[in-house]
């Protein structure tokens, strides 16, 4: 069952009445109802699409033991109402699938101790709050390596969403990958201050291309920047969240393809079997939480190099956050021989030395 926020709101009054009468018993008798709150439309081809596919996969695996209620395009200010409504209508496990929802989830979780909350890309757990994410930065490292091979202008363009640690460490990692091939590589960054706004994403990509960037990385969810690269010709790009090859058959290099389904199924099963625990899951390429789409528009040598790097990351032989790590201002974060902890990666709020872009 997929609901729009509005239709859910429309039914709110009636449903509130029902749950007031029957209480939590609604949820306990029948199958487990799992709630999903999505930041974008299911049809964004990116982040939200992949969570929707994860939900479908969960339903497929667990069959009639679970049902799902999904609300798409929920703006952060509407989050509390939507979440409360899901609780009232009987969801006992709720996935809040955006970093923008993390703070509100943290606030609302203690108010509903009988509901298990799971926040994608969150940064802290609670008694009934788990967090989960994929180590997308591993894919970013591969992107950097490929970009350095493909770029003639030696400049990468980065269509960024918001200056949050997830995006900042991705930018740093792209450059780390690029510098491993060519230390002369540079990057330009444009913040569009949106996760999904096709028109603005395209405008940003256009500006970057006009300024000489010939490989575009995007940290936004629509295929617009990639599609623009296709139109321009001689510009390459990477897909975000889902395999976007079809949007740019001649410009697409690879995509990070998210796969939440197995995790969702596993967590819902844990609730059903009564052994759900608040966990902090951060799965890399090796875990299957995401994979890289087949390499396209690359020479066999380039593709095999990318595949080699990918496999080294998956096996743990290569780690993008090994020291030395030096901040833009010259301050050393960790010396050679050390590695950033997960918490340090998740809190990253600085660019590396060598990136000549100011933090907004």
């Amino acid at each position: 069952m997929t609901l729009s926020r509005r239709s859910l709101m429309a039914g709110a009054g009636a449903l509130a009445g029902v749950s007031a009468l029957t209480g939590p018993a609604v949820a306990q008798g029948g199958p487990l109802n799992v709630g999903f709150i999505l930041i974008g439309p299911v049809g964004d081809f990116g982040w939200s699409t992949m969570h929707d596919q994860g939900r479908r996969r969960m339903l497929e695996v667990l069959g009639n033991r679970v049902t799902a209620t999904q609300v798409e395009s929920v703006a952060p200010p509407d989050f509390d109402r939507v979440a409360t409504q899901l609780v009232r209508t009987g969801s006992r496990l709720i996935f809040t699938t955006s970093f923008s929802y993390f703070a509100p989830t943290q606030r609302i979780a203690p108010q509903h101790p009988n509901v298990m909350w799971e926040s994608a890309t969150g940064t802290a757990t609670g008694p009934n709050l788990a967090i989960y994410n994929a180590r997308f930065y591993e894919g970013r490292y591969v992107q950097g390596v490929i970009a350095a091979r493909k770029s003639r202008s030696k400049t990468i363009g980065y269509v960024a969403s918001f200056p949050v640690p997830e995006v900042i460490h991705a930018i740093n990692t792209v450059m780390r990958g690029a510098w491993s091939v060519d230390p002369q590589m540079r990057i330009r960054v444009v913040w569009v201050n949106a996760w999904f706004n096709p028109g603005r994403e395209a405008d940003a990509a256009r500006a970057l291309m006009d300024q000489g960037c010939d490989v575009i990385c995007q940290h936004t969810d629509s295929p617009a920047p990639l599609q623009l690269a296709e139109q321009r010709g001689n510009v390459f790009g990477f897909g975000q969240a889902s395999d976007m090859t079809r949007f740019a058959p001649r410009a697409h290099l690879t995509s990070s393809v998210n796969n939440w389904g197995d995790y969702y199924a596993e967590r819902a099963r844990a609730v059903l079997e009564g052994n759900w625990r608040p966990a902090d899951t951060w799965g890399g390429l090796g875990s299957g939480m995401f994979r890289l789409a087949p390499f396209t528009n690359m020479t066999p040598e380039e593709a095999s190099e990318a595949a080699r790097i990918r496999d080294a990351l998956a096996s743990g032989a290569l780690h993008p956050f090994d020291g030395p790590i030096v901040r833009q201002d010259g301050q050393t974060v960790i010396p050679a021989g050390q590695r950033l902890t997960d918490d340090q990666i998740r809190a990253m709020n600085y660019f590396y030395q060598g990136i000549d872009v100011a933090m907004p």
């Binding site: 444009v190 913040w191 999904f196 028109g199 405008d203 300024q211 617009a224």
Partner: protein, 305 residues
């Protein structure tokens, strides 16, 4: 192509949907009707446009369908506000919400379908003028349509009798009625024109700008078009300035970011809106108060016999 030319080209493409929709709304408001449903009509145009273009395989049919979809939604608005004399603000807001929802339904089967956008048409001779040529005369057909709309609407409103009558309906509908002009019919036609323009602007988004369908793809451009009409103090050529200013700042702030100008990106993103407010304040100061808009704007008209 130089960077400046590239920037100007981008500014024009970013401004065109705003301009087309604003010109349509300007005519509607000049007739005394406030239609806040531009966003809804625009996104219906985008959905219907790409749906028809994919189904028939012909972009021209897509454009036609977009215009008709915008007009159909406008007709609903006209029925409510002219036929039933309901509150225009409420009806317009409802139209926006309705359009956003309905477009999702119409567009659903076309999610993820990929097609080539409408290309550019270079006008012979004119496109060879250095600098101005590639910027103004090597554009897609919608850009030319927007130029034509500004000139055409400007001429219509101030140089034709029909335009004078339309403006009279917007200034004082009772007088226009007393003089024997069919106020409601004129307003109906103006609303349809506004819907057609909004639909066309939507088609630009889904057929040229980002040629695919996603729900909510207008991203608030309909509301910006409404702001531009006020910004322009209901004059077509000023609407063109407003649209280009708005599009220009949007694009320039992206370029400034890319070039590493050390200004917070959040502030840069807010700049177009701040400037709109600033200009509005300036206009009202220079006018020393007093309404700039058509006097009967937003007031329903019920013929007394």
């Amino acid at each position: 192509m130089t960077l400046l030319e590239a920037i100007l080209l981008t500014v024009i493409t970013a401004s065109t949907p705003l301009l087309i929709a604003a010109i349509g709304e300007l005519v509607v408001e000049r007739a005394g009707v406030l239609n806040l449903g531009v966003e809804g009509m625009m996104i219906m145009g985008a959905a219907a446009g790409i749906a028809a273009a994919i189904t028939t395989g012909n972009s021209a049919f897509g454009v036609l369908a977009a215009v008709l979809a915008g007009m159909a939604l406008a007709a609903v608005f006209a029925f409510l506000t002219l036929g039933l004399a309901t509150n225009q603000v409420a009806a317009g807001l409802a139209l926006s919400i309705f359009g956003l929802g309905l477009s999702g339904v119409v567009g659903a089967p076309f999610v993820g379908v990929q097609r080539a956008g409408i290309g550019r048409i270079e006008i012979p001779l004119l496109s060879e003028i250095p600098f101005l040529g590639p910027v103004f005369f090597a554009q897609d057909p919608f850009v030319y349509a927007s130029f034509a709309l500004v000139v055409g609407v400007s001429w219509f409103l101030w140089r034709s009798k029909a335009g004078l009558v339309l403006r009279a309906c917007g200034e004082n509908h009772a007088s226009a009625h007393a003089l024997g002009y069919p106020v409601l019919r004129i307003r109906f036609l103006a609303i349809l024109f506004g819907g057609a323009c909004a639909g066309l602007a939507g088609a630009y988004l889904s057929l040229v700008y980002t040629p695919f369908w996603t729900s909510g793809m207008t991203g608030g451009r309909g509301w910006i078009a409404l702001a531009i009409v006020v910004f322009a103090s209901w004059l077509p050529w000023r609407a063109a300035i407003g649209a280009y200013l708005f599009g220009g700042i949007t694009i320039l702030q992206l370029h400034a970011q890319g070039a590493g100008v050390p200004v917070p990106s959040q502030l840069l993103s807010a700049l177009p809106y701040l400037i709109t407010i600033l200009v509005l304040v300036l206009i009202m100061r220079l006018r020393r108060g007093g309404a700039a808009g058509p006097a009967a704007l937003g007031t329903p008209f019920v013929p007394d016999r």
